[in-house]
C-alpha cells in the first residue's frame, strides 16, 4: 500500500507540475508542513509580491517518503529561474539531486530556515557562497544571546553549555561561542553529551561551576527529556537558562533570544529578487538574521530570583506569565 501510495503521489505531483508548467518560473519547496514553514512562506510571498507583483511562484512540499526525490528531480528538470528551499531537508535534497543536472543548466537555489549552511555543505564560506546555493542562516550569533543575558544578569562570568561533539553544527556554534564569550569577558564551561541518557551526568559535572546555562539548538540537548533535566537543574541551582526560541520560554526557560522567522522569508525574497535581476549565487554572502527577538518567562525568572527591568520587558517580543 505504501508503495502504491508513493507511486500515486509521484503521478499526482507530476500532474501538478504539468498544470503549473507555464505559470511559474520560481518554485518554492518546503521541507514539510506546519506553522514554522507557513510563517516563512507567508513572509516570502509578501516580499516577492511587493517587489514583483507579476511573479507567481509555485509551492511544493516534501512528505518524507520516496516520492520526494522524484519531485525534486522534476523541479530541477523544469529549469526554473530560481528554486527557494525552505528548511534543511529541502535544501539537502536539492543539493543531492543537483549533480544529475548538467552544470550549465543548474538553477540557482535560495535556501532559508537552515541552521548551519556551511556545516551542511550548502555554501563554502560566509563571505562568498562558491556554489549555486545562496541563502539565510537560522542561527543567531552567540554574542547577541550573551548580551541579552548580561542585560538581565550583569554579574555573570561563567556560562555552562552542553553539546554533542559529533554534531558538526553544534561544534561550529561552540567554536564561535568561545570567541564571542571571550570578547564579552565570559568563560564558556562545556560538557559533552552524545546521547540523551548522558545529560544528567553532564549536568552534574557542571554543578557549582556555572552562573548561567546556555541551551543551543542541538537535537540531543534540546529534545524534550534532556531539556526537562536542564530546566530542573537550573531551577535547583537558581541560575538563569538562556534558550534560543519562544517554545523553550513557554516550557520554562526564563530568557530566550531567537531569530524572527518571518524575517527568514523576507531575506530569502530579497535574494530571489537579486538573482532574478541578474546576480549569481556564487558571489553572494551568507545572510544571517538581522533582527533578534527576546522572550521572557516571568514566573521562572522570579522562581530563581531574577528581576527583569521594566525597560527590558517593553523591548521584549513576548512576556509570558504563569
Amino acid at each position: 500500500m505504501r508503495r502504491l501510495t508513493a507511486e500515486f503521489r509521484g503521478v499526482w505531483l507530476a500532474c501538478c507540475l504539468w498544470v503549473n508548467a507555464h505559470a511559474a518560473e520560481v518554485f518554492i519547496l518546503k521541507s514539510g508542513e506546519g506553522a514554522l514553514y507557513e510563517a516563512v512562506v507567508r513572509a516570502l510571498m509578501g516580499e516577492l509580491k511587493l517587489r514583483n507583483p507579476q511573479l507567481e511562484p509555485s509551492l511544493f512540499s516534501l512528505t518524507g517518503n520516496k516520492a520526494d526525490a522524484d519531485l525534486v528531480k522534476n523541479l530541477l528538470a523544469r529549469n526554473p529561474q530560481v528554486i527557494v528551499a525552505i528548511g534543511t531537508d529541502a535544501a539537502i535534497l536539492l543539493k543531492q539531486q543537483m549533480p544529475a543536472i548538467p552544470p550549465n543548466q543548474r538553477p540557482p537555489v535560495v535556501f532559508t530556515l537552515v541552521l548551519d549552511p556551511i556545516a551542511q555543505g550548502l555554501v563554502q564560506s560566509v563571505e562568498q557562497s562558491g556554489t549555486n546555493f545562496a541563502g539565510v542562516a537560522l542561527t543567531v550569533r552567540p554574542q547577541r544571546q550573551f548580551r541579552a543575558l548580561l542585560d538581565v544578569c550583569p554579574h555573570i562570568k561563567r556560562i555552562g553549555v552542553l553539546y554533542n561533539p559529533n554534531d558538526a553544527i553544534s561544534t561550529r556554534l561552540i567554536h564561535q561561542a568561545r570567541d564571542d564569550a571571550q570578547k564579552l569577558g565570559l568563560q564558556l564551561v562545556e560538557a559533552h553529551v552524545t546521547k540523551p541518557e548522558e545529560t544528567q551526568k553532564a549536568l552534574t559535572s557542571l554543578k557549582g561551576q556555572i552562573e548561567a546555562f546556555w541551551l543551543i539548538p542541538d537535537p540531543i540537548c534540546a529534545s524534550a527529556q534532556p531539556f526537562q533535566q536542564i530546566l530542573a537543574f537550573t531551577t535547583t541551582e537558581r541560575i538563569p537558562l538562556l534558550a534560543f526560541s519562544e517554545t523553550y520560554v513557554r516550557r520554562g526557560a526564563p530568557i530566550a533570544v531567537g531569530p524572527d522567522l518571518s524575517e527568514q522569508g523576507v531575506l530569502a525574497g530579497e535574494l530571489v529578487q537579486q538573482i532574478l535581476a541578474g546576480a549569481t549565487p556564487q558571489t553572494m554572502p551568507l545572510l544571517t538574521p538581522r533582527r533578534t527577538l527576546i522572550y521572557y518567562n516571568l514566573t521562572q525568572a522570579r522562581q530563581i530570583g531574577i528581576t527583569i527591568p521594566e525597560m527590558l520587558l517593553t523591548l521584549a517580543e513576548k512576556v509570558i506569565g504563569p
Binding site: 511559474a24 507567508r42 530556515l113
Partner: protein
Amino acid sequence: MRMWLTLGGLVAFACLCFAQRTSATAEWLFADPQEVTQTATRTERTVYESFTTVRVLTRREIELSGAQNLHELLSRMVVDFEAQEGSIHNLLSTRGAYSASEFNERTLFLLDGMPLNDAILGNFSPMSFSTHDIERVEVAFGPGSAMYGPNAFAGVVHIVTRRQAGNSPSSFFSGLTERSGYFSSLRWSSSESPLSIQASFWRDPGSNRIRNNDTVVRSLIANWGQKWEGHQWNLLYGYIDMDRGSVGMRYGVFPTPHDRWQYRMHYWTLEQSRGTERKHTLRFYGSAGTMELLRTQPPTFDITTRTACTFNQAIAGLETFWQWQLGNGQILGGGDYRYAQASSASHLRGRHSATNLALFVQGEWHVARCRPVAGVRYDTHSIYGSQLSPRLGFTYQLNRQHILRASWGEAFRAPSFVELYLTNFPLWTPIRVGNNWEPAPYQIEGNPNLKPEKIRAFEIGWKYADARLRLDLAYFRQNLSDVVTVFLRDPNQPMLRQYNNLYAFPISGATAELGWKLGARTELTLAYMRTDYGGPVNQDFRPAKERAVIRVAHWNEQGWSGQIALTYPAFNLGFTDAYAWNSYLTLIYRSDSRTRWNLRIDNLFNTRTELARWVPGGGRAIWFTIQRDW
C-alpha cells in the same frame, strides 16, 4: 449499507493520504507546537493546559469545513454543539443546555473580546457571521460567568478575526449554489495599513421543501489597530443585517409564508492596553440596532396584511482589568459597567433600561506540577439584583503526555427584555375546525419577576498528547435551576402563556475527542458526546442524547485538499431528531498560491428523513466557490 460504504470510503481515503514524515531537522526546535488560548481565563494558556474543555478551530480547519457561516462551522466541527432549526435563526445547543425559547442565549459570543449578545433576546445569531473573516474560533465549555458575567452560561465562543491575528491578505471570495443561493465576500487589508475592511453578502436558499426559508445577510467588519507610545489601540466596528424567512420548520405554529425576521445591528469597541508585568486593558464597547418581525396577522397567504413588530435595543459598556504578576502567580482583577436599553411601543410596554455593575478577580498559580485557578465575579443588576459567580479549577501534569484537570463553577443567565416585558405578541397555532385547520392566536407574556437562570457545574478530564495522537476525555455534570420557559399562567386561560422560572434539572454527560495524525497532512478526528437528563425536562426541546462527529481531513498547499465530515444526529428540531448520519464533503483545488476553487456538497449521500433543508430529507446541495488573494 450506506454507512458501510461511508466507513469504507473513509478508510480508503485515509490509506491513500497516508504518508509519514521520516526525518526531523533541527529547525523544528524553533517551532512552537503548543496552541495558546485566552478564552477560558482571559490570560494566555496552552489549550493542553486548560482546566476546562477548550476546542480551537484554526483557519485551516475553517477552510476545510467548507462552512460559510459560524453556525455551520460549529455544528459540523465541534461535537459539543448540536444544531437546531428555529424560526428566527438556526440555534446551537451547547452540551445539552438546550434553548427553551428558541434563542442562543445560553452561550456567550465574543468578537475579538467584544460581547455580541444583544439585550432584546440575549442572543447572537451565529448564522449571521461569515467565516471568511475568521482566523480562529475558540470555545471554552462550562460556566464562564466568573470572568464574563451574564450569558456565559454553558460556554463562551470567541471569534478571533484575521486582522486581530495579524494574518489577513486582501481577498475576494464568491460562490453559487442551486436555487439562487450565492455568497460573496471582499476583504481589503494591507501590511502597511493599520486598517482592514471586510464586506460580505450572501443568500442561503434554505430548504428545498419549505417555502420562505431563505436567509439573506449583509455584513461589514472594519478593524483598526495601532501601537502608539507603548499603548496598543484597537477599534472594531461591525454591522450585520440579516433577513430570514420565519416559517422555517417550526412545528405547532400555523404556517405564515410571508413572515420575515429582520435583524440589523451595529457593534463597536475601542480597546486600549499597555504594560507587561502589570498589564492594563480598558475597553469601551456597545451595540445598537433593530429587530423587526414582518408578520401576516392572522396568518394568511395575502402579503398585504403584513405588519411590522419592531424592537430596538442599545448597549453601552465600559470594562477595565489589570493583570499582575506575583511570584509564581498571576492575579487578574477588574470591573465592568453596562447599560442596556430596549424599546417597543407595542410589544415591550414602551422603553426599558437596566444597568449592571460587576467586579471580578481571578488568581492563577503554578505550584510544581499543579496549576490551580480560582475566580469570582459579583454582579449587581438594577432589575434582578445581585449574583455571585465563583469558579475553581486546576490541572495536574502527570508527565509530558498526560494531564489531569478538574473544574467547578457557577454561572447565570440574565433574563432578556423580551422575557421580562413582552406583551401583545400572538402566535398562531393550528386548531381543528371541522375538516380544516384554522389559526388560533395564543399570547406569550413577559414576566417582570423572572429570576436569572443558574447553573452549577463540575467537570473532570484527562488529556493525552504526543506527536501523532491527542485524546481529550471529560465527564461533566450541570445542575440547572430557575430555567426560564413558556408555560400556562392560568389554567382557565389556555391560550395565554408566560415566561416562568419553571424547571430545575441536572444534565450529566461525557465527551471524548481523538485526533490522530495519519500523515504529515492528514488527520482523522473522532468525537463523541453523550448527555443524560434528570428531572422534568420539556421533551419538545431536549437535544439528542448522543452526538458524534467523524472527520478526515487532508491538506496541501497546492493542488487538492479536502475533508469529509459525518455528523450524528443529522439535525435537531423541537420534537424530534433526524437520527441518521449527515455527510459533508469539501474539495479544494489550489491552482496557484493565490487562487482556490472549492466544491462543497452537503448531504453527500442524500440520506432521507422527515427533516428537510441541507440535512437528510433536504436533498443534496452543492456549492461552488472561488477565492482569490492579492
